[in-house]
Symmetry: C2
Subunit: 229 residues, 2 copies
DNA sequence: GCTTACAAGATTGTCAACAATTACCTCCAC
DNA sequence: GTGGAGGTAATTGTTGACAATCTTGTAAGC
């Protein structure tokens, strides 16, 4: 998870191939995009062609993603996309609940007037999207809201952890968004979060965020999870 | 300087063929033990000798520890022990506060009578240690208490994160334990945590744990932290 | 005296070949 | 037909060498 910014020098070098991190990012995107299913084996030789990288870099990428919890590597048995069980998904979301609660609280303490305006704009757009039944748009706004709250909070450590946790259950979250009635339930929760942050009320903001994600956990539990492939 | 106890095998081989994970664990211990100071460069060739491992494995170990946040690797510039600033230490402890709060709450829900007894035993020993001024013993009991609470909670995801966060600021925590008056302040906090878990009161357990770690954050802030090298 | 250019050394990045392990399939005995 | 032994193919683990990059020390130019 090492941040890289190697195009900083004035040497206007065009190609900074940096194949190692490139391979990692490409593979992560592929997994998050669902091109490799949980439990699927990730054969190094195949990935070499897919990513146009050497085996060395493929291996490094797999190791990195293993550290992120996206893939699982067993000695002498290769790597496979990590299967996240229902119980694990709940655990992950529980941790996300408390950490995002912390983020919301800190956002409430540090929000600027401009940022408050931006939050209110998102609230308006969200309500419109739900009223118009545009759930895809609502989902996008949801992502944008959480990202903005994290930006306001400016809590790098919490950010990193939430990002890692989110990655581990993209698949589950996708299924979640298909649950009927979710937008109607989550809209008022989002509005409470926004209002609390705008009012600089850290305690209420944290409680609202936790309540929101707690209801996500409930929804997760309610899903009939189809067993392993 | 090899403080390894690998003389268990009768094969009188002097140099154990350090595998990848072995090299990683040894290096992590060395860093946590303080044998490499924050900011110190970790040259691969040197580590090869120190760990009796090939450069390949050393490199893998460095990458792993970078993912854990113990070292920092920059492209073409090698690795160095990560320097955790004061602000970062506070951030890390803030996240630890909420996650350990979650763990405490879950421990309160799942604690068995046997485990409750064990908790009470620790409470008694802690009080005795403080009264006798045996602060080193108290510190050990503190570690044991937090470990037991985590074991009771059985929350793998939260466990992993707390473990990672702890590792990132061992150095700071060591300085913390030297602060005068800490045991007298933290003892009642610990007792409240134990009581709440024993009584199956999740909310109080979480609040008590958070209050406890919040006071750690205060202590952190109060330390006159010597600036960057 | 100071800055810049350049060269030598040190360190890391990458690769392709080789060794070790595992998975799979065939064949044979019962 | 079933279970096991053995061999073959596929896959991963490891090594050493070489290339790219950065750092350091030195000397020339202003």
């Amino acid at each position: 998870m090492a941040s890289e910014h190697d195009t900083d020098r004035r040497t206007a070098r065009i190609s900074a191939p940096s194949t190692a991190s490139q391979a990692r990012d490409t593979l992560r995107d592929a997994i998050l995009r669902g091109e490799y299913l949980p439990g699927e084996r990730l054969v190094e030789a195949q990935l070499c062609e897919r990513l146009q990288a050497s085996r060395f870099n493929v291996r490094a990428a797999l190791q990195d993603l293993a550290a992120e919890g996206l893939v699982e590597v067993q000695r002498n048995r290769g790597a496979q996309v990590r299967k996240v069980s229902m119980a694990e998904a709940v655990e992950i979301t529980e941790v996300r609940m408390v950490v995002e609660g912390l983020i919301a609280a800190r956002a409430a303490e540090r929000v600027t007037p401009d940022q408050a305006t931006e939050l209110d704009e998102i609230a308006v757009l969200m309500r419109r999207a739900v009223e118009a039944g545009e759930y895809r748009r609502y989902s996008d706004l949801n992502v944008r809201l959480h990202a903005l709250v994290r930006e306001i909070a400016g809590h790098q450590t919490a950010d990193r952890i939430v990002e890692t946790l989110r990655g581990q259950l993209v698949r589950h979250q996708y299924m979640l968004s298909l649950l009927p009635g979710r937008p109607q339930m989550s809209l008022p929760q989002h509005e409470r979060i926004i209002a609390a942050i705008r009012d600089h009320d850290a305690k209420v903001a944290e409680a609202a965020m936790r309540e929101h994600i707690a209801s996500v956990i409930e929804a997760l539990r309610s899903m009939d999870y189809l067993g392993p492939a």
